[in-house]
Amino acid sequence: MIALLKRDLKLAMRAGGGFGLALVFFLIVVVLVPFGVGPEAAMLSRIAPGILWVAALLAALLSLDRIFALDFEDGSLALLATAPIPLEAVGLLKALAHWLTTGLPLTLIAPVLGLLLHLEPQANGHLVLSLLIGTPALSMIGSFGAALIVGVKRGGLLLSLLVLPFYVPTLIFGAEAVRRGGQGLEAQGALMLLGGITLACIALLPFATAAALRITLR
């Protein structure tokens, strides 16, 4: 299992793996927003929590179709399905690898981008914490979506259509936590609900992911 995780991380890090692309995309979206809405600091700091969360979500979406598609094409997914580890664990590990290469780096650079958007300084902790809690859910949901469309050729667009509605609850609680943090309100409730979503996703979605993979591989 650890070997599989290492292999996925290596594949993602090397050239063409898309590591870093998500980060650059995150940066570009955040840079584009002030051009769209104007440079006033008050306005930017008001919308910063939402923009940062939406941009992180879109950046996480970018690399989703790689989770299973490449392995499906070269046949290694079929091998993994017959391997001694359960397919549920494969799904979980793939999502973990996706999170380590997108969610975690996004979380780490988010405060810098918050600076660009004049995010209230006291909300920085909330931003990092909410992304840290919330992005694993994005990776889990994303790997489920990727498993659904793994047999579809050029399914990238379809994948975003399928996955984005699933992201709504995560986005609501994540952005709400940051907004409350910025206004100095207590954000514990939002963060705990966010944590609940993430834990439920980690606990339940691997089964759905594995079911979808089995159907496609049948």
């Binding site: 659904l148 469309i149 047999g151 509605p165 609501i172």
Partner: protein
């Protein structure tokens, strides 16, 4: 004889034809009766004035939009557990009807919202969750369209439907957290003593019955079309082999 025999495609074609015809006959009659009764036979409500009359389209379509998804969930479970092909096809046939119902509810709601709230659209929890439901329907239909093998498509869309309904419910309550609403609470519920004043209630029930029958008729029609398409595909394959 068991209940499941009605799911046999041949048997299904037999019983569904007359049922569909009756539904197609009765649905417009009930709809026209309910709407006409509502439009001409009921007084204007005090605060709403004449705009209240759109309730005869808005409430039934909203009701059906949610229940269509519930029916798809049941059909998906039946397909995953018992592998009745008709069940999967019924879920497939129901999705476009659900899309239309959701759209009707959203559009009539916008038309009603303009004079009442002064806006066509507000990010109210109920409105927002309907928009999200609409997106779930679109994803479901798109997944059916994208996969070629019919059994794989049925399986994957069933899984999507089951997982999706959990997330749709989650979104429904998450948006409550996010914004307070303009929309009034539920007007109709089975356990309430009295729902709406009787003058409005009876024509509304009539319109709801019309929508339900229309839904049944359309799903039966869609399923019958799908069954015939399958037969055609099987026949062409056999021809090619021979």
């Amino acid at each position: 004889m068991s209940f499941w025999e009605y799911a046999n495609p041949r048997k299904y074609m037999e019983w569904s034809s007359p049922v569909m015809m009756w539904c197609f006959g009765a649905a417009p009659a009930l709809l026209i009766a309910g709407v006409a009764w509502g439009y001409f036979g009921t007084p204007n409500a005090a605060r709403f004035e004449a705009s209240v009359k759109i309730i005869y389209l808005h409430v039934p379509s909203a009701l059906m939009a949610i229940n269509t998804w519930a029916m798809m969930v049941v059909a998906s479970i039946i397909w995953l557990v018992r592998r009745h092909h008709v069940s999967a096809l019924a879920a497939k046939a129901a999705a476009p009807v659900g899309i239309m119902m959701t759209l009707i509810a959203l559009i009539t709601g916008a038309i009603w919202g303009a004079p009442m709230w002064g806006t066509y659209w507000a990010w109210d929890p109920r409105l927002t969750s309907f928009l999200i439901l609409f997106l779930f329907y679109l994803g479901y239909v798109a997944l059916w369209a994208a996969i070629e093998d019919p059994d794989t498509a049925a399986d994957l869309t069933s899984v999507l439907c089951l997982v999706g309904s959990i997330f749709a419910l989650l979104s429904r309550y998450a948006v409550n957290f996010w914004n307070q609403g303009l929309h009034q609470g539920a007007s109709l519920s089975l356990d309430a003593e009295k729902n709406v004043a009787d003058v409005y209630y009876l024509p509304l029930l009539c319109a709801i019955a019309g929508f339900v029958l229309l839904f049944i008729a359309m799903v039966l029609l869609g399923t019958r079309t799908e069954i015939r398409l399958r037969r055609m595909r099987a026949l062409t394959l056999r021809e090619r082999k021979a």
